[in-house]
Symmetry: C2
Subunit: 360 residues, 2 copies
């Protein structure tokens, strides 16, 4: 074995076998109580600390899904949320107080994550849900990162491949990272999705949406930037250690599903999209037809009142557009079966009749 400088305990994490006796890691070798197994009868391997970067078999499987990727370019995280949080904390470590440019409306966790890290969000306003590339060109200068989410939560809009390519180029020229949150990339109904590439691109992805595994909390970071990978792992050693090993095993199972699984899901989403889009249009809402993800984002006059009335008086949950930076809209997720969507639409219709003029 070639002798390397051993500068921290991280060096030893996951080192085992080959006759090694480890007085290193502070984890019990004893088995957990059998009551833990009552729901799962497998060997206790999953109860040991795993590699902070994620299990190698899962990263190998992911690398096969990403052309030209190597398994060392992935970090498995507690969902896309932790992936984003780690990435922005690492970026903040490189440039404290740096500006992050992102389109508005935005996913509601973006602002807190950027701000918790000590970075400063600045905005490019979406025009009809689409990125205004001239505005990006002007504002990207001096920013440490651009945060792209296409297809978008909450707008349901997808950006054209050539626009994403342009952003890939503009961020590169500006010396900024392009953080591409691609958790909805498999849910594009029309057209194609382009995944940006390059040493400055940091992709965030997740098993939650594509494979319907939200509660499992498995996401990942994918980047060719070795320094980012190293910094993320070095941070995760301290902030959460490995991602749950059983969850990683299940995620690996998901990757073994045939491609038809994703195609079938997409067709179900497409059918629901058509129902909710047409239904809301028929009720008089002004909204975009979703191109991806599973959200509609209609315009309304007073989202706060509508959210409250619908919840308390009609038991319908919709989200206030203000939480996404759009104080003139509400967001409806259509992750519901068609019967429920239709029942929800009927309740909304009843509400609208009781409040004439609430839409405009």
């Amino acid at each position: 074995m070639e002798k390397q400088n051993i500068s921290s305990a991280s060096f030893f994490i996951g080192k085992q076998g080959e006759g090694i006796i480890s007085f290193g890691s502070g984890q019990p070798d004893l088995p957990p109580p059998k009551e833990v197994y009552s729901i799962y009868e497998k060997a206790p391997k999953i109860f040991r600390y795993g590699l902070i970067q994620g299990e190698e078999n899962l990263r190998q499987a992911l690398s096969k899904e990403h052309m030209g990727a190597h398994f060392d370019q992935f970090v498995i995280t507690n969902g896309g949320s932790e992936a984003l949080d780690l990435v922005f904390r690492v970026i903040a470590g490189q440039m404290k107080g740096g500006k992050v440019l992102l389109p508005r409306p935005y996913y509601y966790s973006y602002l807190p994550i950027i701000q918790f890290a000590g970075l400063k969000p600045v905005f490019t306003e979406l025009v009809d849900g689409k990125i205004d590339i001239d505005d990006v060109r002007q504002k990207i200068k001096g920013c440490v990162a651009f945060l792209l989410n296409s297809p978008s939560n909450p707008t349901g809009r997808a950006q054209a491949p050539e626009i994403i390519q342009e952003i890939e180029l503009l961020t590169k020229e500006a010396g900024a990272y392009l953080v591409a949150d691609e958790v909805y990339k498999d849910l594009v109904y029309d057209g194609t999705h382009y995944s940006p590439k390059g040493n400055h691109v940091i992709t965030i992805d997740s098993f939650s949406k594509t494979f319907a595994l939200c509660g499992l909390r498995v996401g990942f970071i994918y980047t060719a930037n070795k320094k980012i990978i190293e910094s993320v792992v070095e941070m995760k050693v301290h902030t959460s250690m490995n991602t749950n090993l059983l969850a990683q095993e299940m995620a690996l199972g998901a990757l073994r599903a045939p491609k038809s699984f994703i195609d079938n899901q997409r067709e179900i989403w497409r059918g629901r999209r058509d129902v909710i889009y047409q239904g809301l249009k028929d009720l008089g809402f002004d909204l975009w037809k979703p191109e991806g993800a599973f959200y509609v984002f209609p315009k309304v006059k007073d989202p706060e009142k509508i959210v409250s009335d619908l919840f308390y008086d009609h038991k319908v949950i919709v989200y206030n557009g203000s939480w996404f930076g759009a104080p003139d809209r509400i967001r409806l997720s259509y992750a519901l079966d068609t019967d429920k969507i239709q029942e929800g639409l009927r309740r909304i219709e009843t509400y609208l009749k009781s409040e004439p003029g609430i839409l405009s």
Copy 2:
């Protein structure tokens, strides 16, 4: 239902049943691919988003283990690591750049966690592994928190109940939080452990050590301080969402184990402690007899050389005391069966013979 102000999406997370139709949360309702289940044949409930604060049945079970506790005083986290990380980030949100007093030597993640949060670690030097209460009394003034870890990783020392009570009082008087990392509280060999109490006390605990569930990543925060609970939950919504639900179910299983499970574990640890303590003493090491946890922390002249030599030339992993703020020690975990401990001791003996004078 009494109408409350609905100020963010967090309000709706976990709201279901009772005839509610939710266009809120962005999680697919479709089942995941069957390949995910190949290792676990249960209903897909665990794949849905759960309460950010943690499943109520697990928090109920925990509250029964803590006298006078209410289940709302717990947050379930991705291990003790995330618990610490969230707590210090929340404290930093209250007082940016505040000083955190902690005993040295310390667990190696403490410094990065405190620093990542934007806080400043300051130290009280342990005397023979014990807290110097007069030094704490002087230094606690102006600090935002004290970080206590008893029994301690890496020292294996436990602080006397009256010392912990004194720290409970001193921190209260100073208006500082007492963050009590109690992940080893069930591994005290002699004497009793005192768990500090009060509105200023934030307890960190984990299933990893007591129940040998490190890789499962389930820990928790316990505090009577409602504001801390709320702030932690509000942060975790964005930074990682709920903790893996299957892991929480397994943790609940662990709590159903009879108390004899923990007692039996402790006796196994005690036996191993005696073997490694006596073995290292016989080899000429200067070390404390561990009172808790499962670490010995002997003095050496050149830990860097010993760590490197033992690993590369004898396949024995020990940790450099410098990583814990003790540049004159090495740490050995005895989370190994006795045969392996003895084999490790033999290899160390061989090494010591090849390097006379390495110890002093």
